[in-house]
Amino acid sequence: MTRFEFYFKNINNIGAKIPQIEIRLNDSTIYTGQVKNQIVTEAMTMGQNKLEIAFVNKVNRDTIVNAHGDIVKDLNFELDRVVIDHRDIEHLIWDSHYRHAGGKIDGCLFFGPLGSFILEFETPVLKWMLKTNHEKNNNDPEWEEDYNYYTEAWNKIHKK
């Protein structure tokens, strides 16, 4: 099982109404409920994975505007961090998109309109992070060798 930790911030209610989400991994629901500052859950991963955090209870009247059309209250929140298998995926969180009725926004961690944050990742997540970082920056040619040394040493120490 893979451990997932989700950290949210700036959670804005409308009266007693709290944002609700559904977290899905590879189209299977792994969490349903209110957004909290921290949500921890576990799920089975595959090599290639699709993580989806869907904002499920927003309706038009959850956005309150004044006479000038400025938003004065809104049901919304932000995703702050994602930790997979005890590893903060850090800036790779931005390699995601937010899909909503009006289209798709790349690298959006703000849950404003009804929609879903979608991130594709691979496990083992460390290997994916090293590989992706090297693909982006072309500055870590030994990432795979080092990953293998690290995991081999780790497994020997922990007799896996």
């Binding site: 590893r87 460390l126 030994e142 060798e145 080092d146 040394y149 690290y150 081999e152 040493a153 780790w154 020997k156 120490i157």
Partner: protein, 352 residues
Amino acid sequence: MEQDTQKINEIAYALMIGSARDELDIPGEYIWNIPEKNNVEEIRAKSRSVFSSGNSIKDKQVLQFIQGINAVQYLKDPWISKKFEEYFHEWVSACTRFNLKGFDQFKEGCFAQGSQEYFLNFYLRNRTKRFRIHRGEYWWHMEVWKNLGMEWTYIDEGDITSNDVVIVSTPFALTGKVHKDLENTITLCEKHNAELMLDFIYLPNLTSENFEIDLNYECIKTISFSLSKTFPVQNAKIAIRFSRKKINDPIQISNDENVANRLSCGIGLEVMQKFEIDYMAKKYYSQQIHWCNVLGLTPTDVVHFANGAPYTRFGRTVGQEFFSEFNNQHTRYNLGPLFENTNFLKKAGYYE
């Protein structure tokens, strides 16, 4: 035997993972070698310098002994630096492993706070001269000279002249053996009246039993020793310079003023009284051979060093040298972390 770079890397990682999880038999002593967080980025970065230090083996028995020293008592002992200086000469002379011809003439001992203090005094005293050094020597010299705007060149870049002063570590810092050009260097220094400082910082850990050097050359004005490569007291900064005549430079003036670091003198004296100079060489020679066989490295004449190809591109790539652009000691492996962590490495299956 072919070098097992895979195993060297794995062990480097294992030691850093063990350090981050506080599982080592004997933890490291420097923050550049201790991952503070148990995260792969730091473990990875620090695994690259696991074998790079020149420092002593952190022998458990010596560590325990040091922990038991009441160093503070020496603050009240005005004679402690003198006792240290006198005993150091006897301690070196008592060893049959090496024959330092003419060492008896070098009776002027001068306590120094680590090798860096005696080097700095050498620089100051010779500040109008050009410094000469062999490639692979302790990078700190070049780093200091560069930053202070002092004149220096490698010995292979031109003949030694009367305007030069020379430093050679013996055994040589890079190879753990006597530098192949030492004899010629001494001859040239003697011929041109260029002062030569022989730094014996690694001599106590010499494994060969018939080391011989003639100190009777006039050009050899000073010889030096430090305990930082011999015993795990590197952060106490305990060293000494010997000369034929008293040299009135800052360290000597401070010592004459009786303001030497008495804590270090006391620790140094007690450690020398307890352990022979070749304690590490005797105790760890078989371990040196064992690990060289396991990893396919070449043993040097210094018990905690081996030579081999670099196991990581870091250190050997321009711009990625450890600490200094002048540090090209990446072919030298400090085996100390292996000797010190036998139980940990056995558990992980790395100690066959």
